[in-house]
């Protein structure tokens, strides 16, 4: 699939995605990224620094949300710019030993802007957990053919 700027319109939906998260996923992300802050894997530590419990890395949420854009673009390298603000934590319940997720993150994307000169589309992502937005101004700029 090759995306053409002329065939896109502002407001067009690019799709949705549900991301199931477990405590084990956070341990995997910690290892892969090198971010071992214990608030992402140790309940006692997290509550000790006045958090409601173990929370996902903001970068886990940001990193997993963009997959929707990579797939839509057809090439992850087409994502030339990606930014977000982290506004609310994603609290991940301890469901170890069960098949239940500890949290579910919902992602939806729409075309937010088109730049005919730069041949880019800005995708605005809405990322929610438990009905609340956890990322704000989450925008990915995609280079088009």
């Amino acid at each position: 699939m090759t995306l053409k700027l002329e065939e896109l319109t502002v407001g067009q939906e690019i799709g949705t995605r549900s991301i199931e998260v477990t405590r084990q996923d956070l341990v995997k992300y910690a290892g892969a990224s090198g971010d071992f802050n214990p608030i992402h894997w140790n309940e006692a530590f997290a509550t000790g620094v006045e958090l409601p419990g173990v929370i996902a890395h903001g970068m886990f949420t940001m990193g997993s949300a963009v997959q929707l854009v990579s797939d839509w673009a057809g090439d992850p390298a087409a994502v030339v710019d990606y930014q977000t603000r982290f506004t609310k934590p994603v609290l991940v319940a301890d469901t170890t030993g069960t098949s239940e997720p500890g949290a579910v993150i919902e992602v939806a994307g729409v075309v937010g802007a088109l730049d005919a000169e730069a041949r880019t589309a800005r995708i605005d992502l809405t990322v929610t957990f438990a009905g609340q937005k956890v990322l704000m101004k989450s925008q990915a700029v995609v280079k088009l053919a």
């Binding site: 991301i19 996923d25 995997k28 992300y29 290892g31 892969a32 990224s33 090198g34 971010d35 802050n37 608030i39 530590f45 620094v49 890395h57 903001g58 970068m59 886990f60 940001m62 990193g63 997993s64 963009v66 997959q67 854009v69 990579s70 797939d71 057809g74 090439d75 992850p76 390298a77 994502v79 030339v80 710019d81 990606y82 930014q83 977000t84 603000r85 982290f86 101004k137 990915a140």
Partner: protein, 153 residues
């Protein structure tokens, strides 16, 4: 301990080289639940015109956070890592990161702003590769703001 306001404008030169390996790209892609074949299958990446496996769009955080560690671990900075909250993040890719890249990051402290008893610190990592002719090739610019919570925040 309070944040040192003199941090603003400070730079930390590129330290170690980060070698981007195929298995690290695959591991990171799995960790962010990415499934695009260009992260896993060399032939799929080549079919899209890339030299090797393509890193996910937020992969550069590994290199950027290593650079940030120089500031956070600097005893002069006054930052208590256990009170750090990530406030915002941006990646600007000048070109795709692919397996085989050797990356370096130069860290700049662009802003320090007092907030209550804490501070908001904005850093920028200029990530580059060194070409065979010793010229820098810009790869990515990452910017990040962290909130260091003061007591009771």
């Amino acid at each position: 301990m309070t944040i040192n306001p003199d941090l603003q404008g400070r730079s930390y030169p590129a330290a170690e080289v980060y070698d981007v390996g195929r298995e690290k790209i695959r591991e990171f892609a799995r960790a962010v639940k990415a499934t695009h074949p260009a992260h896993f299958d060399v032939e799929a990446a080549k079919a899209l015109g890339h030299d090797d496996l393509v890193a996910p769009p937020t992969f550069a955080i590994i290199v950027a956070q290593r650079a940030d560690a120089q500031l956070i671990e600097d005893p002069d900075s006054g930052i208590d890592f256990s009170r750090v909250v990530h406030a915002d993040q941006r990646f600007t890719h000048h070109r795709a990161i692919v397996a085989g890249d050797q990356l370096r990051a130069e860290l700049h402290v662009d802003g320090v702003r007092a907030m209550g008893g804490g501070a908001m610190i904005t850093t920028r990592s200029e990530i580059f590769a060194v070409r065979e002719d010793n010229q820098r090739e810009r790869v990515a610019t990452t910017t990040s703001s962290i909130l260091v919570r003061g007591e009771g925040q």
